[in-house]
């Protein structure tokens, strides 16, 4: 009996590495601390009522944000571990399998559990406020999306201490990811972690598409809609077309592993190349899914902080639509070297280069928004301005990579690594950080400290170039990705060392940002007006943070940049505002079902990972019952009476 337990524990828990034991201790201590604090201050009820069951898009956005920052931390630590290992030749800090697990985790987390939730955080926090809506189209589904993401991420992260992590790269190419070469449960944790959160992402795509199409304030035609909302719209359409492919692809891989099917296996007639095609049919659009909202953020910020209307609004919209369509026709550029033949390679080379055209147009339009404006170098704008050169260089190397025959030389080398980090950090991360700085006061009612923020900003930026510019050169030196070690003989050492220094500078930048948040909670400048940046769009017309119903009265939109126009009119004395008439506000009720149902998904996923039938049965039954319970609920909404709205508005300093 005791022996059984011991042998079970040694396969169940990851053992034998001091880093992991350290993490075990940290996880246990953190959990205990959270439980202690919640119990001591009697906050369990508050946690359940205010957060775990909430369907309020603003709170869901904040939860996404917290998770994504934690994931940024974890993915960042992974990056630093890798850079430590590669700082010098023949370092024996991580052994091969550990290194492989770390780069797999780093990639997966950064794209799926960092970038995606950070993007959803901004969707949630901004879109309804920006289009003058009281919530998203399906608030319950929105909460469900979040909790699916949350439990998916938990499942994936759990593999760090239980069972072992996946080791076959963030896209898990078979046959390497098949049972034959990756027999461990890590790969299954990967599949189920992504699968569960992926369902949530798909639902979010549908949710925000409908929200934007159907819930805009009266008068806000599509061509008067702020560009961030446009970018969310194009991103959501891309999600809707791309994510089902991911779901199918991972499901097929799991069926191979679990039932011994031969879809992507080396033997039995399986076709690994099919997987590579499918995963990139999702994977390439995925890149645009995360970068389009960043473009939207830049468009908002550049206009606000240049005190000028966005230049070429129609071009901007058109460019985003072209990008999201073209993103589905470029996937094969990820494997020009797979011998698809000259016709195929030529097609995908040209289609890939073509994406540079609308992207370039956007850059020009941002520049000409600043042109003849008045540029205020506040934090959001700093990140935006830093983005432009970074993204332009990253885009240029992207065009170079699209040249198929030249790509035979860049493929899988550090040149590629440098390129995609440049567009993903320079584009996506800078964009989301800019967005977070910009909308932070709207979320929490105070600004983030400028001085500490600038430290973070400079460290990130300088660190970025120090880290990644040498990697372009390393690519030319023949260094390929995913090497856990290298020798002295090839002359790769100096540039790798420089790169590691840069990575740590970025890490330090992150530390400054955490400090900045902690500091600003107490000392940050309070936002009492609701419009701290002299903004242009509707979200700045309401108090910060917004009341639960967002708008006491749904605004009537007349212009693009409607709030700016309203302020101008008020200043000129030409405002013709009818006195607002309050009505009871229809709101969705909170629900614990999203949390519970997602938890059952987690149970089922855990069961699938380990092949524990009872867990699978209980998990799936729980999911089914949760759905039925929800289906039988007819009393899912309520009205906020006029008096209460009036009281709330008055307490926020607004007379209605």
């Amino acid at each position: 009996m005791w022996e059984d337990i011991k042998s079970f524990a040694s396969t169940f828990f990851v053992t034998g590495d001091p880093l992991i034991y350290g993490a075990d201790v940290a996880i246990v201590l953190t959990t205990l601390a959270i439980v202690f604090v919640l119990t001591k201050y009697k906050k369990w009820g508050w946690l359940w009522r205010e957060w775990l069951t909430t369907v309020d898009h603003k709170k869901i956005g904040i939860m996404y944000l917290i998770c994504s920052l934690l994931m940024l931390f974890r993915g960042g630590v992974d990056a630093l571990l890798m850079r430590l290992q590669l700082a010098l030749p023949n370092v024996e800090f991580l052994h091969s399998e550990h290194y492989n697990a770390i780069f797999t985790t780093h990639g997966t987390i950064m794209i799926l559990f960092m970038a995606m939730p950070m993007m959803f955080a901004l969707f949630n926090i901004v879109v309804p406020l920006q289009i003058g809506a009281r919530d998203v189209a399906y608030p319950f589904l929105n909460a469900l999306s979040f909790w699916l993401f949350f439990f998916g991420a938990m499942l994936f992260n759990l593999s760090f201490v239980i069972g072992g992590s996946a080791e076959s790269g963030w896209l898990a190419y078979p046959p390497l990811s098949e049972k034959m070469f990756s027999p461990g449960v890590g790969q299954d944790f990967y599949i189920w972690g992504i699968q569960i959160s992926g369902i949530g992402s798909l639902a979010t795509g549908i949710n925000f598409l409908v929200t934007i199409l159907k819930m805009r304030a009266p008068g806000m035609s599509l061509m008067k809609m702020p560009l961030f909302s446009w970018s969310v719209l194009s991103s959501c359409i891309t999600i809707i077309y791309a994510f089902p492919i991911l779901t199918v692809t991972l499901a097929l891989l799991f069926i191979d592993r679990y039932l011994g099917a031969h879809i992507f296996t080396m033997d039995g007639g399986g076709n690994p190349m099919m997987y590579v095609n499918l995963i990139w049919m999702w994977g390439h659009p995925e890149v645009y899914i995360v970068v389009l909202p960043a473009f939207g953020i830049f468009s908002e910020i550049v206009a606000t902080f240049s005190k000028k209307q966005i230049f070429g609004y129609k071009s901007m919209v058109f460019a985003m639509i072209i990008i999201s369509v073209l993103s589905f026709f470029t996937w094969a550029h990820h494997f020009f070297t797979m011998g698809a033949g000259a016709d195929v390679n030529s097609f995908f080379a040209i289609s890939t280069m073509a994406i540079a055209i609308p992207t370039g147009v956007k850059v020009f339009n941002w520049l000409f928004t600043m042109f003849r404006g008045r540029i205020q170098l506040k934090q959001p704008m700093l990140w935006t301005i830093a983005f432009i050169p970074c993204f332009v260089i990253g885009g240029a190397t992207g065009v170079m990579l699209a040249v198929a025959p030249a790509d035979y030389q860049y493929h899988n080398s550090y040149f590629l690594i440098a390129h995609f980090h440049q567009v993903l950090i320079g584009g996506v991360v800078f964009g989301y950080l800019a967005g977070i700085y910009y909308w932070w006061p709207k979320m929490f009612g105070f600004k983030l400290d400028e001085r500490l923020g600038k430290w973070g900003f400079w460290l990130w930026n300088i660190g970025f170039y120090v880290c990644f510019m040498p990697q372009y050169a390393l690519g030319f030196m023949g260094m390929t990705r995913r090497l856990y070690t290298y020798g002295w003989d090839l002359g790769w050492a100096p540039l790798n060392l420089v790169s590691t220094v840069g990575a740590f500078m970025m890490g330090l930048g992150f530390v400054f940002q955490v400090w900045q948040i902690a500091y600003s909670i107490k000392h940050g400048e309070r936002d009492t007006t609701g419009d701290p940046w002299n903004g242009r769009t509707l979200e700045w017309s309401i108090p910060s943070p917004a009341p639960v119903y967002n708008f006491a009265v749904i605004p009537q939109v007349k212009e693009a940049d409607d709030w700016w126009a309203t302020k101008q009119a008020r200043a000129n004395g030409t405002a013709n505002e009818a006195p607002a008439k309050l009505e009871p506000i229809h709101m969705p009720k909170n629900s614990g079902i999203p949390f519970i149902m997602s938890f059952f998904w987690f149970i089922a996923g855990f069961g699938f990972v380990w092949g524990w039938t009872w867990w699978i049965v209980i998990g799936l039954a729980g999911v089914g019952i949760s759905m039925l319970v929800r289906s039988f609920q007819y009393d899912t909404d309520y009205y906020i009476p006029v008096d209460e709205v009036r009281r709330t508005e008055a307490s926020l300093g607004r007379a209605v």
Binding site: L202, G270, G624, F632
Partner: protein
């Protein structure tokens, strides 16, 4: 869908909420379409990958499949009749037609399970070859959809009994109807590509 898209009013009343949910369901069906499209593509690629194992031509027994095709087509028709009854406001008729639809759906699932167990017994299981893996995944995913639809249908029949025909139940029945017709269309493709082309 065209109608709901064009219909753009901002009275956030119940009716509006319900039409919003129908639009969302349409978009869900788009994603489901892509899901099946991906499975069809996989099937097409692996269509000849028998790896020395049995072929579809050797294994398929068309009469059973044709029978289940007719059963599913009929169930699509009866679910349409349920919709018509709903628009006339006749609760009992709606429940009746749905019950018939459900029975037909169940028969379809039973036939499919029988076919699968027969195939496995004859030596064409999911692990036999890439072809059979693709076959089971494609046909099985459709079968799973039908099965889930049955649970949904049962839940809605109870709700109809409880609440009668309201804006909410109307929307739910509408979505279920869309779902059922969609599965029918998928099956027609499936029948053609997998079975007809398989035995030809």
């Amino acid at each position: 869908m065209q109608q709901t898209m064009a219909h753009h009013d901002h009275d956030h009343g119940h009716e509006d909420h319900e039409s919003l949910k129908v639009l969302g369901f349409w978009i869900f069906l788009v994603t489901d379409c892509i899901l099946f499209g991906t499975l069809f593509a996989t099937y097409a690629v692996l269509m000849h990958s028998y790896a020395g194992g049995p072929t579809g031509k050797e294994m398929f027994q068309l009469p059973g499949v044709i029978a289940s095709t007719f059963i599913l087509l009929t169930s699509s028709f009866t679910s349409g009749l349920a919709m018509l009854a709903m628009h006339k406001g006749k609760v009992k008729q709606v429940i009746g037609w749905l019950a018939i639809t459900a029975v037909l759906g169940l028969a379809f699932v039973v036939l499919e399970v029988t076919e699968f167990s027969h195939l496995v017994a004859e030596g064409a299981a999911i692990y036999t070859s890439a072809y059979w893996s693709a076959f089971y995944v494609l046909v099985g995913t459709h079968g799973l959809h039908v099965t889930l639809g049955l649970f949904w249908m049962a839940a809605l029949m109870i709700q109809l009994g409880k609440h009668g025909i309201t804006a909410v139940t109307k929307r739910k029945i509408t979505n279920l109807g869309l779902y059922w017709h969609f599965l029918d269309v998928v099956w027609i493709f499936l029948f053609t590509v997998v079975y007809l082309m398989g035995v030809m």
